[in-house]
Symmetry: C2
Subunit: 128 residues, 2 copies
Amino acid sequence: MALKLRRNRAPEPPEACPLSECMSLLGGAWTPNIIWYLSAGPRRFGELRHDIPAISAKVLTGRLRDLEAKGVLWRRVMPTSPPSVEYGLTDLGTEFQPAIAAIVAIGHKIKQRQAAHGQSDDMAMPAS
Amino acid sequence: MALKLRRNRAPEPPEACPLSECMSLLGGAWTPNIIWYLSAGPRRFGELRHDIPAISAKVLTGRLRDLEAKGVLWRRVMPTSPPSVEYGLTDLGTEFQPAIAAIVAIGHKIKQRQAAHGQSDDMAMPAS
DNA sequence: CTGTATCCAATAGGATACTG
DNA sequence: CAGTATCCTATTGGATACAG
């Protein structure tokens, strides 16, 4: 009686939140996209720029360097006449694919809901 | 085909990148944590603040309002003498759990690798 | 207890120009 | 082609104070 149902306690806490740690890995807004486009195999810098037109060279370079430093992807310089560089997922990088696939799946569902419900009850107002 | 293997073309592109859309949903650094802590059931504002001490009231409120507007969670005001508010995942919100679980799993693996390989080449952090 | 408002610092990210 | 450097703006997030 002293303690009625204490609604519910914290779920198994993510022990010191590896969540936050991992999120810092794909913290960049474009990071998941980069990993996604590398999931089918190595790609060159220019190809990635073409894959993700909205990303700037600076940001792409930054994310690439960052992910390389964290062991998510590797960087290989091809000694060709016009220098070309290839990036690819490491073993660790491939680990992200399930998570990204899950995120993509959610994105699809959200789109479906928005298309189905229309935007009658939410997001219709440019909050001022 | 005269053109040798064109390394590989873009993988099935995330059609206009729902990835980015979804990432904008959990764009906030704390969003995954909030969803995580709500995954076991509804919780009150103060409980969430206690769950995630590093988050400020402003940010928590902001993420909460944002997720509510997007239909990820619901907000229920309890008409008690000291006003209390409960938040819980909606059906849509529960969809995020697999993705977050996958992210948490990666976080664990990264930690293991850091502990196993030591800090020989990167991230030289004395774990303990 | 549950927020909200204001101020402020840090950072991400875009545009452009330039180099190897 | 593959970056790098610089500048600039927008956004995020924290601290504090205050309100219902």
